[in-house]
């Protein structure tokens, strides 16, 4: 039991539901089919059908759509404790592609595994519904921001959101976090050029707000960065379990 109580998914779902031993055991069974995937090779292709979903336990992943002009829009990044392709396993064809940013570890989950888990504990169904709703709230937040934040505020918001998400699974704090993303990832996620990303990061660093260097994000002045980004983490819903 002790292993699974420390799994990132367990930590994350515990923000929504106080998990019983029986529920922890069901979560444990969902982690049975562990697999490794190498960086840069798609787990799921846009337009693919009959695929599995995964629970990410180690590493970073990005979800993206290829646009008709061949450019890539990154929709979101997944970190340990996140589902990969849960939407893809429920819809007939995947509406997006999923690519490991680094080598990853993930547990394969079929629709039938979820159905069986939900049959054992409906509270787990609510918890997964919460996780999906939280993912949707993030995409809505990104949608609403796009028009209104300038490049500096968008970058600040992005780095702060990742920090709060990572803190939930024990991988970050208000001091900072390790981050394997390249400037190309940031560019494709924020709709900026790599050159522009470079300039924005330099400006934020020179203003004494945040430093992203050598695979690590350091918050140099967390509160001022929050003010610049107009960042309110309420949509990430990490204030403690709603279901006791």
């Amino acid at each position: 039991m002790s292993i699974i109580q420390d799994s990132p998914l367990t930590r994350k779902l515990s923000a929504f539901v106080a998990l019983s031993d029986a529920e922890l055991a069901v979560l444990d069974r969902l982690h049975q089919r562990r697999r490794s995937f190498v960086a840069g090779r798609d787990l799921v292709h846009q337009g693919q059908s009959d695929q599995a979903a995964y629970i990410l336990s180690e590493g970073w992943v990005c979800s993206y759509k290829i646009q008709p002009d061949g450019s890539r829009q990154i929709v979101d990044f997944q970190i340990p404790g996140d589902f990969l392709g849960l939407r893809s396993v429920l819809l007939h064809t995947s509406d997006h592609s999923i690519e490991p940013v680094v080598d990853i570890q993930a547990a394969e989950v079929l629709a039938s595994d979820l159905l069986e888990a939900f049959a054992h504990t409906p509270r787990l169904a609510m918890a997964v519904l919460w996780a999906v709703s939280r993912d949707e709230a993030m995409v809505v937040e990104h949608l609403v921001c796009i028009g209104r934040r300038d490049a500096n505020a968008r970058m600040a918001h992005f780095l702060l959101e990742l920090g709060v998400r990572l803190a939930l699974v024990g991988m970050g704090s208000k001091a900072g976090y390790d981050c394997p993303l390249t400037q190309y990832h940031l560019a494709d996620a924020l709709g900026l050029s790599a050159v522009h990303v470079n300039r924005v990061l330099r400006q934020l660093r020179e203003a004494g707000l945040v430093t992203f260097r050598d695979g690590h994000v350091t918050f140099d002045d967390y509160e001022r960065l929050v003010a610049l980004a107009d960042f309110d983490p309420a949509y990430l819903d990490q204030t403690g379990p709603l279901l006791k």
Copy 2:
């Protein structure tokens, strides 16, 4: 049973799961607390907590966020068969507001009702998860479009998506559908001014593609409109039940 088999939610969930009589009865119980709401008065306020969710059975609703400058970004519209505020009942505080576009009928659903329903039938939990995933796929599609479609293509895509969603609940076809939205709704959803919306609708009408007039959308040339919008409805996942 016959009433509920005809409910919009039943029609919609049937696109994902072939519902048994027992499952239909559980859905029926979710519709017990029927309520009416008048147009223009918020059901849920952004930042509110401890609210209920609703299943919309009649009328149209919009979900929006108020931005710091006081302007309104409409995130999506809900039509019969859609959940209202499901995300709000799962997250501690609502990340958006919900306002009836016209007078509506909706059934109130508490988190405890959902938990009880899921305990009776885990397949229903999967179906609700599917509905939420489909909502997320829509927001992702909107996010990815914003940068790449011009105003005419964005409007065309918007009117086509609504048509496909309405067709699923028996309220539209490739000929067209009744639509109570004003030009202000379209403007706040598409990030255009009302004057611009007016001009775009005139251009689409004069090109013989689609006419939106007197509360009705008429598709004058469906296939050409699809080509203009580069519209692929796969993300709406309406090709028949995945769970038999």
